[in-house]
């Protein structure tokens, strides 16, 4: 190995292969069966349990935990999948401290919730390891549904529609299905190809065709889809990225964090990925954390996440923030980028401190500079390429009820639809509910 964290500039292979392998292994290893039994026993089987209410997909959590505790983890898995067919991925990526575990009465009682996320993983892994598929399709209805986007919302919808007996075609812009599960989350949350395994398992219900390399504007039109199908569901996510609005940002070394994360997820050999010695991430959400932590894990010497507001306003959960700092990432709050410095390639980035005012954030006069070989922008994604014919709600597609858009026969779900909180689990819930609404609509008519 010739490079190290001290190698100047942007360089690959800063860490030995075994260190990289360890860094990108499973963040939270699976329970062994005894651990799962002990963890399950802590559940109080609450009446009208707050954890269920806190789950966007309304999984019957006390029931599945009791099923684990009584030695039937496969039954527990089925309980989960009935509500959330991507329960395996959600077990890995949900910010549970803000959802089920945050609502757990043991959090109130002793600050230590039942580890619902890890139990869910134990249950879903157990059922998936059994092979086969737990659900069967209803008889064919003869109805055809197009789903645009093979992310969590689209996949959840496709599965539910296929289960109801409809013929589903999923169109995906990228080369493979999975959406943000495959391209948008940190590698250590979904190691060993889990995202693709989950997609394959989900599709094994049958009745779903996936066509990759196709999106609205690239081979597809909404009118064409409507003409060929009984219903259309748009689950296209947020393909656009916000700009920094900082002077000089169009230089080499400044890029979107989502692209970096996608590249990293698809990389066969992490040692081949170039990373800066000094990395600056701008933003405060999960994407910023994933980019910052993974930069550090690749061997960057200094990684700084800079967020324009305070810790409480960060989109990333407290647990995610703690993860970042535990890996040696520094988080700077209340500072916004004003200028990227560098002659063709980024060298430094200048920030101004901020102060909240009733009119919004004000930039203070005091500034500071951070050395930067790479700058990752993680300041939010925006809807891109959605048909103009659809009414908007803010910058997203307007929906009423379970994802109905302003056009008859067209539904929208997931991040592209207004409402929700841009979580995988919310996308799954919206996809599932839109599918139910599509089914009800098609069968009524």
């Amino acid at each position: 190995m010739t490079n190290s964290p001290l190698t100047p500039g942007v360089a690959p292979g800063r860490l030995p292969a075994e260190t990289l392998a360890a860094n990108f292994s499973d963040k939270a290893p699976a329970y062994d069966p005894h651990e799962a039994m002990v963890a399950a026993d802590r559940c109080y089987f609450c009446h009208d349990a707050p954890c269920i209410t806190a789950c966007p997909t309304t999984i019957d959590i006390p029931l599945f935990i009791r099923q684990i505790a009584t030695g039937t983890p496969e039954a527990a898995g089925r309980t989960i999948f009935e509500q959330n067919i991507l329960g395996g991925m959600c077990a890995r990526v949900c910010p549970t401290e803000n959802l089920c575990e945050g609502a757990c009465v043991r959090e109130a009682a002793e600050g230590k919730p039942v580890e619902i996320g890890r139990l869910q993983r134990f249950a879903t892994d157990s059922l998936m390891a059994q092979g086969g598929h737990p659900f069967a399709r209803a008889p064919e209805t003869g109805k055809r549904v197009a789903v645009v986007g093979a992310g969590p919302a689209g996949l959840a919808a496709a599965h539910r529609l296929a289960m109801k007996g409809h013929a589903v075609t999923v169109f995906e812009a990228r080369g493979k299905a999975g959406g943000l599960n495959e391209f948008g989350i940190a590698a250590y949350k979904s190691p060993d190809g889990f995202a693709q395994d989950e997609v394959d398992w989900l599709l094994s219900i049958g009745g779903i065709t996936v066509e990759t390399g196709k999106s609205l504007g690239a081979g597809l039109t909404l009118d064409g889809l409507r003409a060929d199908h009984d219903a259309v569901l748009l689950a296209v996510g947020l393909a656009g990225v916000n700009a920094l609005a900082a002077e000089g940002e169009d230089v080499d070394g400044v890029r979107d964090a989502v692209d970096f994360i996608a590249e990293l997820r698809q990389a066969g050999d992490k040692a081949a990925l170039p990373i800066g010695r000094d990395v600056v991430v701008i933003g405060g959400g999960m994407t910023a954390i994933d980019a910052g932590v993974q930069s550090k894990l690749l061997g960057a010497e200094n990684v700084t996440i800079v967020y324009r507001r305070g810790p409480a306003a960060m989109g990333a959960s407290r647990r995610e923030q703690d993860l970042a700092t535990s890996k040696g990432v520094r988080i700077v709050h209340n500072a916004a980028p004003v200028r990227v410095i560098g002659n063709g390639t980024v060298r430094e980035i200048e920030f101004a401190y901020t102060s909240p005012t009733p009119q919004g954030l004000a930039l203070l006069d005091e500034t500071f500079r951070l050395k930067a070989d790479q700058v990752f922008k993680a300041i939010g994604q925006v809807l891109d390429g959605a048909p103009e014919a659809l009414a908007r709600d803010g910058r997203k597609i307007a929906v009423t009820g379970a994802g109905r858009t302003s056009l008859p026969g067209v539904w929208a779900a997931g991040d592209c639809a207004a409402g929700g909180d841009d979580l995988t689990v919310t996308a799954v819930a919206e996809g599932r509910d839109a599918a139910e609404d599509i089914h009800a609509t098609l069968m009524a008519g």
């Binding site: 609450c46 707050p50 109130a108």
Partner: protein, 433 residues
């Protein structure tokens, strides 16, 4: 520090914690380790008559019930009495007693139900210097099929007869160990007393099948696909044992008969409860088999601290203190009216009290949309189920209504002590005065 020394039937021991007749007391090696660990006494594992020793199964002897994290709650065994030659046991008993003169060594015996058999073995035991004998009329498995153990303990006449033989043929104190596998424990206890026994010890194990293997359909523990009725012990049996000890302690016919309490004693607290219900000492087995002999140190420190706190100078100050408070249902105060009360600061909003009360009891707990749980006094019968299912200690308590208060459920005014015997609904009621 309180003095834990006890004298049970004149048998002195530095503390009231004895090891029960069972696998831990089968050999000199184990018993020496027990005494080094601090046990006050042992009841040596049951000796049989001279001749070819008993044989045991060569597969599993124990089955278990577990709580979370494999915490052992109940144990069942199908082991028989000692399977070592009588003379070996006698030699070892003698050696141990010689080296530990301050500890109690009582020897458990089980021989066929004829006078000659008992007459033959008693002098042999006496010769070891042992402090007393315990007649094993309790084992529910194996030996009972051969007319010994529980087969004797289930027939009061036999108990009386054998106890009398033993008293006639030894100067040692005689303790009769009772089986709980009987409808009314007072009858065998009375028989033991009538036969002249100096004390009773109880309970022996309870006939049980711990579980069934749902693949092989064999009861556990499984011996080549078959199981048998074993003896159940451990923490799970404590309430049954306490009940039987109390029955004997408050029975006028056996009142004052010394009792050695056995059955699920796991901590100092369990031991103190047996003592309070009239046991003069306790015998322990499953807890030692689960955790090893060192647990006696916790029992010693715990009981000692408790006695200091209460100002009890000796164990005798504690023995029997709860007996007067064990009574018949008919004498319970029907004017003791309580209502459940939920401490909202301690409540973690799990709703278990609500589910229990709403589904299975009296619909006396209200739940608000924001999960505040409150007791409806006009419905609450004070059953205590909410207290029992609440995961937070002291979150739900029972509040006593003062005399003169009106119970919103019945509309009746709380009065002085009154019980069923004088209640107007009782057809047998006797007028007060």
């Amino acid at each position: 520090m309180a003095n834990l020394a006890t004298s049970f039937l004149g048998i002195r021991s530095p503390n009231p914690f004895w090891l029960a007749s069972a696998p831990p007391t089968d050999k000199e090696y184990n018993v020496r380790r027990a005494f080094e660990a601090g046990w006050g006494g042992v009841v040596w594992k049951t000796l049989g008559e001279e001749g070819p020793p008993i044989v045991n199964v060569n597969g599993p002897r124990y089955g278990a019930i577990w709580g979370a994290d494999r915490r052992l709650l109940g144990l069942n065994n199908i082991e028989l009495i000692t399977d070592r030659p009588l003379e070996v046991n006698l030699r070892e008993i003698k050696a141990v007693k010689r080296d530990y003169p301050d500890r109690a060594v009582v020897v458990s015996i089980m021989v066929p139900c004829n006078e000659e058999a008992w007459k033959a073995i008693l002098p042999l035991v006496e010769e070891t210097g042992a402090d007393g004998v315990e007649l094993n009329f309790g084992c529910p498995h194996g030996m009972s099929e051969r007319g010994m153990g529980a087969a004797v303990g289930q027939v009061p006449e036999y108990i009386e007869m054998v106890a009398r033989w033993c008293k006639a043929h030894t100067r040692m104190p005689v303790i009769v160990k009772l089986t709980p596998n009987i409808t009314d424990i007072r009858y065998p206890a009375r028989a033991a007393k009538k036969g002249g026994a100096d004390a009773v010890s109880l309970i022996n194990t309870i006939s049980s099948i711990t579980s069934v293997n749902l693949d092989s359909f064999s009861p556990e523990p499984s011996i080549d696909g078959k199981g048998t009725h074993g003896g159940y012990c451990g923490p799970a049996v404590k309430p049954i044992a306490l009940n039987m000890v109390a029955e004997i302690a408050r029975d006028p016919e056996t009142a004052g008969l010394p009792i050695s309490g056995i059955g699920g004693v796991t901590t100092w607290r369990d031991a103190a409860e047996f003592l309070a219900l009239g046991a003069g000492n306790v015998q322990v087995c499953t807890a030692a088999m689960t955790y090893g002999f060192r647990i006696v140190q916790e029992m010693i420190s715990g009981l000692s601290a408790y006695m200091d706190e209460k100002g009890f100078a000796s164990v005798d100050d504690l023995v029997g203190r709860a007996v007067p408070n064990v009574t018949d249902w008919q004498y319970l105060n029907l004017n003791y009216v309580t209502k459940a009360e939920i401490d909202q600061d301690l409540c973690i909003k799990c709703g278990r009290c609500y589910a229990a009360c709403e589904d299975t009891s009296h619909q006396a707990i209200a739940m608000s949309p924001d999960r505040v749980f409150t007791v409806k006094d006009e419905e609450c019968v004070a059953c205590n189920l909410c207290v029992d299912v609440c995961p937070v200690e002291a979150c739900i308590t029972m509040r006593q209504l003062p005399k003169g208060a009106v119970d919103p459920r019945t509309g009746a005014t709380v009065g002085d002590y009154a019980n069923w015997t004088t209640h107007p609904n009782n057809p047998m009621s006797r007028a007060a005065e």
